[in-house]
Every structure is written in structure tokens, then in C-alpha cells.
Symmetry: C2
Subunit: 534 residues, 2 copies
Amino acid sequence: MAPRKLKFWGWGYEDGLSPQVQKHVEFTMAERFGVNQWEKTPPPTIEEIQLQPSRLSLPQSLQHLCSVDPFERLSHTYGKSYRDVVRAFRRDFSNAPDIVAFPRTEGDLINLLEWCDGINAAAIIYGGGTSVVGGVEASIGDHYSGAVSIDLKYLNQVLEVDDISRAARIQGGIRGPAMESRLKEHGLSLRFYPQSFEFSTLGGWIATRAGGHFATLHTHIDDLVESLRVITPKGAVETRRLPGSGAGPSPDRLFIGSEGTLGIITEAWVRLQERPIYRTSSSVIFPDFQSGVKAVRKLSQSGLYPSNCRLLDAGEASDAGAGDGKSAVLMLGFESHDHLLDIWMLRALECCREYGGTYSQDAIKTSQKDSTARAGAVETWRNSFIQAPYLRDVMVGLGVIVETFETAITWNQFEEFHNGVMEAAQNAIREISGLNGWVTCRITHVYPDGPAPYYTVKALGKRGSELEQWDEIKSAVSEAIIRLGGTITHHHAVGRDHRPWYDQQRPQLYASALQSVKKTLDPNYILNPGVLID
Amino acid sequence: MAPRKLKFWGWGYEDGLSPQVQKHVEFTMAERFGVNQWEKTPPPTIEEIQLQPSRLSLPQSLQHLCSVDPFERLSHTYGKSYRDVVRAFRRDFSNAPDIVAFPRTEGDLINLLEWCDGINAAAIIYGGGTSVVGGVEASIGDHYSGAVSIDLKYLNQVLEVDDISRAARIQGGIRGPAMESRLKEHGLSLRFYPQSFEFSTLGGWIATRAGGHFATLHTHIDDLVESLRVITPKGAVETRRLPGSGAGPSPDRLFIGSEGTLGIITEAWVRLQERPIYRTSSSVIFPDFQSGVKAVRKLSQSGLYPSNCRLLDAGEASDAGAGDGKSAVLMLGFESHDHLLDIWMLRALECCREYGGTYSQDAIKTSQKDSTARAGAVETWRNSFIQAPYLRDVMVGLGVIVETFETAITWNQFEEFHNGVMEAAQNAIREISGLNGWVTCRITHVYPDGPAPYYTVKALGKRGSELEQWDEIKSAVSEAIIRLGGTITHHHAVGRDHRPWYDQQRPQLYASALQSVKKTLDPNYILNPGVLID
């Protein structure tokens, strides 16, 4: 069997979506937007792309690690944002890296960085390439001699598993499924499932402060990091494996979220979970979104710590095939390797009832094995969660603008914030861009002091102006998020796309502090220029 | 009634301990050490101290904020470590600050910093002065024109309470009891009770990454910080109130643990808890410490999240009046404002039974109000916890060396680590220093990947050489902690006393990164010189 081929222009595998599902998307979108006949853009082929010749010449000693093959250069040009896929459909790969490097050891990586440093080439670290914020794109200005995309795919080993402390030392370039299959041999799991899980890497999660499986407690990868090993142009930084420490400002926290600008995360000790034996899940229907929000707030402050606590607004639930189009739906789940969770679920459902939540007793699914039994709406929603990026690519081909905004805000500000963001998005779609479209919202993670809402915008773009329209929507919504007190990103990272609003969000003196760290660790500013730090 | 007077030479109030308890300490210690007659050193009086004249002359504009009163200068000379109290007993206050300043507003603080910056005086931020690691002492070398101790006691307001998000904006100089009494009006609490609670401050907890009430989950203040306001010599840094964020490396985490070297924490939004309604606690007896450790590990990985999970070894339990001198004792507790905890406790006790834990059914105390009902051994232990620093002062007067070491280590390394640290401590007491003494251990906080053990050393010092003996013990144990993979501090901070081992623990390049941040925020190095950064 030939290995499945990855798309160079979009999400996942070329054969990732069946023609039937593609047809279904076209049909559904046609109905939603009132389109009779799609004017479809076919995906690009390699032969169609005008690729600039590589500006860099490789020394003999590095040639075995590097490639200038067009497929590799094209594959490493973009992340997977809407903006990326649109430009790929336009056959625009003008920011392709000059060279793609595949270090097989830390020594290779050090040699590559030294070479980049010596010839003033930008070094762009590439994990799974699933950035949706322009985090891996070589739009580096003209200060550099060229750009090298350093793909860590061969630094992909689970090096050590500590069953006693439930932790493992793992290389940064490993992808989700490979890591989990190794950990499964030990009955352990990171239980960290971002939507990008299939393709994204441990190092990438840490570098971007990704958000995972758990709706409460360990929401970000941050909390699962026990220690790090980072290669900078000035040398290695290795932190001590510690379950907790109070010794000065945390060194790990400086690199977590540094997005490839301060160093390359080659290894991490991460905290694992035992695989759950007991699971219980349910879906609860609320008459309106704000009632659901109140229930979710109560749950977040209850000390019950559900592993899943996702509240979908009516539109979102309906899009995911999990609601009647009028009600909000809460996906609620608990899991444990240690104890039955009936009491937890019963109390959680009581909290929901207080705010008008209803559920059918049949819909509560409890299992005592690591089975995949899940309540109906929850299961439906999970499938659509995993398939979503594939569907997005189809929509881009149809000219549909699809963008997501994720943020976090305290509970006391949430209602005003939510209304403001929804209004800004709707305005941007209809009034500014003059488009037909809509906005939906789900709450993905909950903290005792506030939720992380996630907004999805869909609009029928005007052909040829999609990027400008995207830009108008992006700016309007991002501006609202910052003005109303949110964060420009809860778990997608800053990259290049969020810079203008990140710069407003972070304190000015903190930006100067980061600058000074950058000068110390990467004095020639070769690492991922344009991201986080100028 | 005249206000109670604080000691300038040791812990708490002058009348903090009744003569009966003092006698009891003398009697117990005499029995333990086989001493017939104590050669007691009386505490110092102000009149006995030779205080250097202040080297600094105050501008008119700052005089109303400052004091050169001997009591204030003496009170601000030391923290509350063993080493501090010994030197106070020796009437050695040679490091007294030249001036003690009491800013009443942030504006005052800025003016004070500007003045210090201008005249090259060291600015040492003083919260509650409860440092046990030399964090507030003006041992600043001869590079500076003098030292100003900046006491934040008047920046002590709860400025805003957000009942919805369960958070409050609070000034850094507030002490534990005042803060809690204001929060109680809202039915809320930080539920953060370090041993120093009565005197230490919110800003101090944040600056030192203090450890609090909870044995699991929110062990450090770090997790309770929603945002910060910090004044640096280059200006203010104010972070955004966010329940969670993924926007670059966390700015809060750079200042949490910075120990007064990067700026002064004038305000923080902190995450609060509802006051518990349901409580259940129990004490479990284990045949030996390592069986208790196994049970505690299981509990830490169970997902039950006890609020209290302290394991005392036989010596520690006996010292606290909570054991029979042979068995290890686990103090176990759950609390909630939301739900009964019987199921939680029953499962936790089941875990304990697996490793030989026994308990009497009568000893399980469950209450459904915010009463103070607690199981017998737990209550006894709590009282002795709070009184301990007072007793320590009495022991110093008797010539008893009392020192604690707290650290954290992963579970897989714990047994070897524990044996190594115990051996190093016992060796240092008997063989190096030739003293009569002993070491005990308790586990104060537990993480899924490891415990935070806390060691207490007591030894009968040779009169006149206590500091040298302390130094031998401190060095030997600290060296063992670092060599065997622990952290030099889990929650007491680094200060000046832990510097040699902290410097070994932190990666060299990270030290350089911190240096560069220091240069950016405090270019003249006036803030707390000698702590963390050179």
C-alpha cells in the first residue's frame, strides 16, 4: 500500500475526505447561502506553481539534511489558516522557504542553526505545520539572505517513560498519534487532543501554548510540562524535572509560548494520565445561550472538574448536527481511571437544571471500560470536530470565508463581551464587507473565573476579494476582542496574524523585556522573525 | 487597649506565647536533648543595639514617608529565618537599612524609587518581613550609597471584588487576616494559608511563589493570580485580567517569583474560592513512612484532589502531638462549597487501606457548615503549625538550632532522594558539626508527578558557633537536594541564602536571560541586590 499523500496546499491527506462528504458540504452550503451553482476553484497542482529559485546554497556538510524539492518547499510555505489556503488556491507561494531542512539529531539542528546564523538566514521551526496564525510562514522582509524551514519530523521519539511519576521524556517533533501509541504500551496517555492532533507535534503544542482535551484544570499544554530542553543559537537550556518549584520565575514558562522565537524545543518531560476506565457523558439542552452560560459558570466553580464542558450556541449545535437550531447544547463529560463518576455527573446535572437545562435520562452514558461509548450528541459533535478542517478546505474552494476567533474573558464581563464580539463580527460580514454570512459561538474551556469562547464566522466571499474581506472581518473582530477586555488568543497562538492586537494586549515594558531576552538567546534574530518580537 | 507590640528581633508579637508554653518548650527540649540547665540568652532590647547612623539624607519631599526610628530600622533588618533570629540574639544589626519608607500610594512608591535610583541606594521591598531565606536583608555590598527598606504596609486595600468571577483586585501590602476579613463580607476567600499567614502579604506571596493551604491543584499562589500590576524603575507593567491565555510567554509568570528584583507588585487580581460549607477530614496511620508515601502517591494521581494531604513521618507526627512516635500519620481533608464529600473521602480511605493505612471510623469528621470541627489529630497538628514560629524563637534563645528544608522531587526519585537528604542532614548534625540532633520529614503538597517534602532539623548548637554549625548543616543538605535532583525551594523562595544552589539549579542561559530582563526594567540594579540576579 502506498503511503497516503499529504496535501501541500491545505489540511491533511489528499484522500482525507470522501467525494460524498464533499458533495454534502457543497449541497449544505448552497442551501445555506442560497447558491444555485458553485463557481469552484480546483486545488492547485505542483506544476501550476511558479516557485522562486532558492536563494541559498547549501554547504556540503548539510546537504544530506536538506531538500529543495518543490513539494517540500510548497508544503512548508504555509500553515493551515483560511488565509493560507486561499493563497494556495490562488497559486501564490511567493513566501516559500528557500530550503527545507530535516535534522535527525540535536547535533544536526545545532549545525543548521549555526549555518543560518553565519549566513544571516531566517530559521523557521516547523512542527506539524498546523499553525492557523501565520506562525510558520517565511514572510521575513528583506533583511535576511533567505529562509530555512526546519522540520522536526525526525525528532519523534518517546525517549523514556516514568511509570511511577506518570511522565515521559519525548522529542519535540513527535506527532499526536505516534506519541499516544507509544504511551499506550504503558497504559498512559497525555490526553491532549487539540483539533490538529493528527498532524501537530508536542514541541509545537508547547511553543504555541496549545489547548487540549480537558475543559477544566489542565486546559493548556503549559500545565502538562514538567521540564524542557531547548536549543538556542547561544546553546542549550535544560530545565530540571520538578513536580513543582518556587525557585525564581519559572524558566519553563519563558519558553512555553515563545513560538519558535527564543529557541527550539527538542525535548520535554510531560505529565501523563492513566487511561480512563470510567466515563460518563451527557448532553444538556438549554432554552438559550445565556442560561447555558450561567450553568457552565456554576460548573466551572463547583470543584467537580468535568473533563468535557463545551457549550454550543444554537447555530453551532445545529451546524454540528447536535441540536434543534434553537437551543444551546452542553456537552458534559467526566472521566477517571480511579473511580466511578455517577455522583459527579448527578451533581453536575443538578447544577444544569437550576438554569433550565434539560436532558433525557437515556442520554447519560456511563461506561466502565475504555470503550468509545458516548452519548449521541457528544459523539456526533466529536466526529464533526475532527473532520472540520477538511470541510473548511472544501469551503475555501467554493469561495466561502471561514474564520475562527478564540479568546478568554472573565465571567463578569462575558455577556457584554459576547454581545460586542457577535455584533462586531456580524457588522463586519454584512455592513463592512456586504456579504451573506453568520457567526456562531461555543465555549471550549472553562475556568472558575471565566470562559474561553470560540467564534466561527462563515460568509460567502466575493470571488477575488476573499483576502481583503477576511482582513476586514479579522480586524473588526480582533479589535472588538481587545477593546472589550479579552485575549487575542486563548490557544491558537499569536504568530504573524495576531501581532497588531497582541502588541496592544501585552504591556509595553514586558515587550521590552522579551526583546532583551531575544537579544541574549538569539542575538542575530534568526529565529522566526516577525513572530512575537521585532 | 494598647496595640500589641511586634518583636523587632523575631517572630510575631512580644506577647505571642504564654510563659506556660515557653516553659513547656524548655522542658520538652531539655528532655529531648538531655539538658539539665539551660544557658538562656535573653532577647535583645533596643537599647542594647549599636546601630550605625543612617548614611542617607532624605529630601524634604520624602520625609513624611520615611523613618529612621531605631525600632523601625531594627525591625526591618531581618526576615524571620533561624539565621536572622540568631543574629538578633547576638545583638548584630549591622545590616540595618538606613531608612525605612512607608509609601501610602503608588505615587509615593514611584517617588521613592526615583530617589533611590538617583542616589544609587538599594531599594529593598518589605512585605510582611517573614522571609526565611534572607530575602529582605540589606546585605548589599559597598556598591550602594545606602539601603532603603520600602515597607508596603499602607498599600493594604481590597480595591474591588468581582463576585461573579470570584476574583478581587487587592493591593500588594495587605496581610492575610485583613484581606480575609474583607473577602468574608462577600462569602469569598483566597483560601491561601501559608504558615506566615498572620503577618505575610499578598505581594510577598506572589513575589516569592509562596505555598498555601491546598495540598493539591492550587498549591502555589502562582495559580491564583489572574493579573498583576508591577512598578519598576522604568515604569508600570499591568497585565490583562484573563482566566486563561495563550498569547506569548505569560507576562505574569515573569514577575511571579521575581522576589523584588524586577519590580514591586502593587496590585493583583486574584482568584477566590467560595467559603466551604462541606468538610470532611480524617487521619490515617501507616506502619512506616514509605507505605504512607505510596498511598499519598496514589491519592495524588487519583483525581480526587484532597485539599489537605499531609504525611508526617513518625518523628514529625510525634513532635506535633499527633502520632505514637512509631507510625507515619496522614492528615487528609476535603472541602467544598458545592457538594458533600463522603464519596471522595471513602475512596481516598480505600486508597490508603491498600497500603496498610488504618483509621478509626470515629476519627472521620464530616461537617456541613463552616464550622471548625476537625478530626482530633488534624486539629492538634494545625495548632502546632501556627504556633511553630513562636516556639522556634524560644528554642533559639536556648541555643537550639532549628532549620527547615523544603523541596520537590518526582515520585520515581523520591525514595533515594529522601534517604540521601536524611543521611546528609544526619551526617551534618552528628559528624560534621558533632551535635546532638535529629531530622524529621513531612510531605506538605502532592502533585501527580511528585511530592514536596519538608525537612525539619533540630540540634543542640554549641554556644557561640550556632551560625557556623547552621551553615554546615545548610550547605550539606542543600548540596544533597541539588545533587539528588530536587529544587532548592518549593515555596520558601531563593533569597540570599539559597543563591549558591539556585545558581546550580537554573540553566546558565536562563540566568543570562533574567539578567537581560533586569537590565531592561531596573538598569541601575537598585532593586533587592544580591537576590536571584547579580
